[in-house]
């Protein structure tokens, strides 16, 4: 008998425009001591399964069909009181964001003890002992002292350990983990995955891990279930799914994951994904407006962009007395050069200062010290607005979050036209219009997109709009700040292909920022590694991946998840 079994689960979210079906017909079995991964892209319905098992669907979600068995007993349709005895006691759940999962006003002790006392028939003193044991088990040092602390006194990774302790403290049989490591840095992610694997082995619970990350799957799961738009497309052992998948969706999903082991020219075109861009009519860059670069001088030096001893501080303690202020050095003495026509990568974990560097080059932040040279001119020395704008126009930026990088109150046509009009790059409104249409077509959206508002587009499409806007000043230098980290893998592959094409076609110079090493390897010619605001290593990207020099780069490469290949 399986530990947890789901038969024909269908979950719907009724709305006035008809029901949205989150999962259609999900069947699933989980054995004790097993780790089952549920993988899929956003909107596949994977989180819905976990919420439906515990009857925690966000309103107005309902489960009109399906049965859920826990050790042979049906647990769907139980009363709230009966369900409460299952939650935490027999099925524990771990959420994605450790920063918001804990009650900020209670100590860890209060939260743990309350959970234990609610479910297990023990005294408060015994519950406290157990709570300390649990913290010890999840790897929190000095548990007897730390238990008195409040959540804000723990780091993100430590908080996720506390969350795990909370889910395990009433000794459940099943753990549901919903993207448990997505909000964490790679190195912490690896630790948490290790911990979860160890706990499953020790306690013999069954665990379901929900993730969009193939790396997590290959790292920890015994079996994998692949979901696509509410349907289960394939179930099998991790080896089988990653090595030799049957279903075309699984195949295309896996082929879209950037390979860490070698560089390939382009990502294979994924035919299963419906969002694929409209085939664009090709424009001849040599004659088209987009290709005209007469107003740029030919590069004066080998390097288009150079930064020298760049420094940026953020004030952390404010005071009217300068001596009492405290600063965080976000960027500390960083220097590098970007050759004309190359793609230069900047890699590091969160807080390493890589985005701050990008924002200083693009002029959003003003550096505290250091110089930025663009085409031989020192941008930090320029004072007149006009002089700055001359260079600003030549460098553009693409941002991480496709949902906040476009002004929701403007039509796409206006968004793309704004830079053209501001820099007076076209002679008439009619010309602006035709350029905008060509640009939108060129990035694979089609000219019909112009009349719509950003919210009518998906994440990948919005990122294409951002690219069109960036191209609208006819830049020579493009800064991409994690341009694909908010996108699903299949969309990521398409956007990266588009960027590669444009880079070649328009011979753009690019600064490409990412925390994702495989992506860096696929896109960049040279790479700089940053840590805690300092530059650790700069190398050709093939050299870095084959033969890293610094310890930190080696460490990062070790943590890089490798898919089990056939």
């Amino acid at each position: 008998m399986s530990l947890l079994k789901i038969e024909g689960m269908r979950v719907e979210f009724p709305s006035r425009r008809g029901s949205i079906v989150a999962t259609k017909d999900v069947n699933l079995e989980l054995a004790a001591g097993e780790i089952l991964g549920i993988v899929g892209e956003s909107g596949a319905g994977k989180s819905t399964i976990a919420n439906a098992i515990l009857d925690l669907l966000d309103p107005p979600g309902i489960m009109p069909k399906g049965k859920i068995f826990l050790e042979g007993e049906r647990i769907d349709g139980l009363s709230l009181d009966e369900m409460r005895k299952i939650r935490g006691r027999r099925i524990g759940m771990i959420f994605q964001d450790p920063l918001t999962s804990l009650n900020p006003l209670q100590t860890i002790e209060e939260q743990l003890v309350e959970t234990i006392v609610t479910h297990l028939d023990v005294s408060v003193a015994r519950a406290l002992e157990r709570a300390i044991e649990m913290l010890d088990k999840v790897g929190i040092p000095d548990p007897a002292i730390r238990i008195k602390h409040y959540p804000h006194q723990f780091s993100g990774g430590m908080r996720q350990r506390v969350v795990i302790a909370l889910s395990l403290c009433a000794d459940p049989d099943v753990i549901l983990a919903d993207e448990p490591t997505t909000a964490l840095d790679v190195s912490i992610q690896a630790q948490i995955l290790d911990l979860m694997r160890k706990l499953v082995k020790e306690t013999g619970v069954g665990m379901i891990i929900i993730t969009h990350d193939m790396g997590v799957i290959s790292d920890i799961c015994d079996r994998v279930m692949v979901m696509y738009r509410g349907d289960v497309v394939e179930v099998g052992t991790t080896q089988k799914i990653l090595g030799n998948p049957d279903h075309p969706y699984t195949k295309s999903l896996i082929s879209a994951v950037p390979r860490p082991d070698k560089r390939i020219d382009r990502f294979p075109l994924v035919e299963y994904i419906e969002e694929a861009g409209v085939a664009h009519k090709s424009i001849d860059v040599k004659t088209h407006w987009l290709g005209k670069s007469r107003d740029f001088d030919n590069s004066k030096s080998e390097f288009l962009v150079s930064v020298k001893n760049l420094e940026m501080r953020f004030r952390t303690v404010n005071s009217i007395f300068p001596s009492k202020r405290k600063y965080l050095r976000a960027v500390d003495d960083v220097s590098f050069d970007i050759r004309a026509g190359e793609v230069f990568g900047l890699v590091g974990e969160s807080g390493s200062g890589k985005s701050t560097v990008a924002r200083m080059i693009s002029g959003i932040y003003t550096p505290h010290a250091g110089n930025i040279f663009f085409d031989g001119a020192d941008l930090t020395a320029l004072s007149s607005r006009k002089a700055v704008n001359h260079y600003r126009r030549q460098m553009q930026m693409i941002f991480q979050d496709p949902f906040s990088s476009l002004n929701g109150r403007m039509r796409v046509a206006d968004i793309v036209a704004e830079p053209i009009k501001f820099h007076k790059l076209a002679s008439s409104n009619a010309e602006v219009k035709s350029i905008v249409n060509d640009l939108l077509d060129h990035v694979g959206l089609g000219a019909i997109a112009a009349k719509k508002f950003p919210h009518e587009f998906s994440g990948g499409q919005r990122q294409r709009i951002s690219i069109a806007r960036a191209l609208a000043t006819r830049p020579r230098f493009l800064i991409c700040d994690e341009p694909t980290s908010a996108l699903d893998v299949s969309i990521q592959a398409q956007v990266l292909n588009l960027l590669k094409d444009l880079q070649e076609e328009l011979s753009l110079t690019m600064l490409f920022i990412s925390h994702d090493l495989p992506v860096i390897r696929q896109v960049c010619d040279r790479v700089a590694v940053m840590r805690d605001g300092k530059l650790v290593e700069v190398a050709d990207s093939e050299d870095l991946f084959k033969n890293p020099q610094s310890d930190y780069a080696k460490h990062l490469l070790d943590l890089m998840p490798r898919l089990v290949s056939a």
């Binding site: 409460r84 804990l102 009650n103 006003l105 804000h152 889910s167 009433a170």
Partner: protein, 306 residues
């Protein structure tokens, strides 16, 4: 506090000519000058401001232009009436408002909640003075149950006069207190409800549910406590503003408090009373802010860091 003192002082300086307010049309220029000298109006502005602050700290605000009595006496006479009224109203507003807010947040769709919300909507739409007038019309004029003006019989304890110790005092207090409480109460209901709904949507509440904690514990020890953090400042301010809102109530019920004094002062441009009242209100707010800070500190561990 000092800012307010400055404003209050500026009032003295620039608004109106106190002399022409004090004396009649037929007073001679010499008499006016003499009066100016007596009142210290010929000194430099800085000196006058220093004297003003110094006096204010000792509770001296000069003499009322209109009533020809020291402001200190006038205020001391009126202060107990306003404070008793405000305290009872605050008590009513909190005692009824908080449970109602919590109930409507927890049972969003029940009939009772809908009823409460409708009531609160009517509550914020009813101007305070109209509530007072309607209460007077029903209970005072038509039913003749309760007195429609004044404080009733009061008992003096030292310089403090209280209406809490006599039946007629209580009877007189009921309608003004309800009138004053209703608006604040509806605000508190709506505020608590909105904030609590926000908290109930948070991840830690969902995680608490997923751990199978008891609903009662989730609602009260997890959700309500987190609701109080953002709400406490605004409630503090609301309670503080009761004293000022009492102006309206006092005027409707002819309640002999500071508000009535103030409104009469405005009509007559009686600056010493206006500025003294202003400073007193500012003082009340400073005290309330202090209490709110202490409450914050005891509720939110994140503030106890340094």
């Amino acid at each position: 506090m000092l800012t307010v003192a400055l404003i209050a002082f500026a009032l003295f300086q620039f608004v109106g000519d106190p002399i022409s307010n004090l004396v009649g049309q037929d007073t001679s220029t010499e008499e006016r000058e003499q009066l100016k000298q007596d009142l210290g109006l010929n000194d430099s502005i800085v000196v006058q401001f220093g004297r003003f602050v110094g006096n204010a700290v000792q509770g001296e605000f000069g003499r009322s232009y209109r009533l020809r009595k020291p402001v200190k006496e006038l205020i001391a006479e009126r202060f107990p009436a306003t404070l008793e009224l405000s305290l009872l109203s605050a008590f009513l507003a909190l005692l009824i408002g908080i449970p109602m807010g919590v109930y409507t947040a927890l049972n969003r769709n029940s009939w009772l909640s809908q009823g409460f919300m409708t009531l609160s909507l009517i509550g914020i739409s009813l101007p305070t003075f109209l509530i007072g007038i309607f209460l007077i019309l029903f209970f005072g004029v038509m039913l003749q149950w309760l007195p429609t003006f004044g404080r009733g019989d009061t008992v003096s304890i030292g310089w403090w006069t209280t209406g809490f110790l006599t039946v007629s005092g209580w009877k007189s207090l009921i309608m003004p207190a309800i009138t004053l409480a209703i608006f604040q109460m509806t605000l508190i209901v709506r505020l608590i409800r909105a904030e609590m709904l926000e908290v109930l949507r948070s991840d830690y509440i969902k995680f608490a549910r997923a751990r199978g904690l008891k609903e009662r514990s989730i609602s009260f020890s997890h959700a309500l406590k987190n609701t109080l953090v953002p709400v406490i400042t605004i409630i503090g301010l609301q309670i503080g503003s009761l004293i000022a809102f009492a102006i309206i109530t006092e005027s409707v019920f002819q309640w002999p408090g500071m508000g009535l004094l103030f409104i009469q002062a405005i009509e007559e441009v009686d600056i010493p009373i206006m500025s003294a009242y202003l400073l007193l209100i500012a003082f009340v707010f400073v005290v309330i802010n202090l209490v709110v800070d202490i409450l914050y500190y005891s509720i939110d561990p994140r503030l106890r860091m340094d």
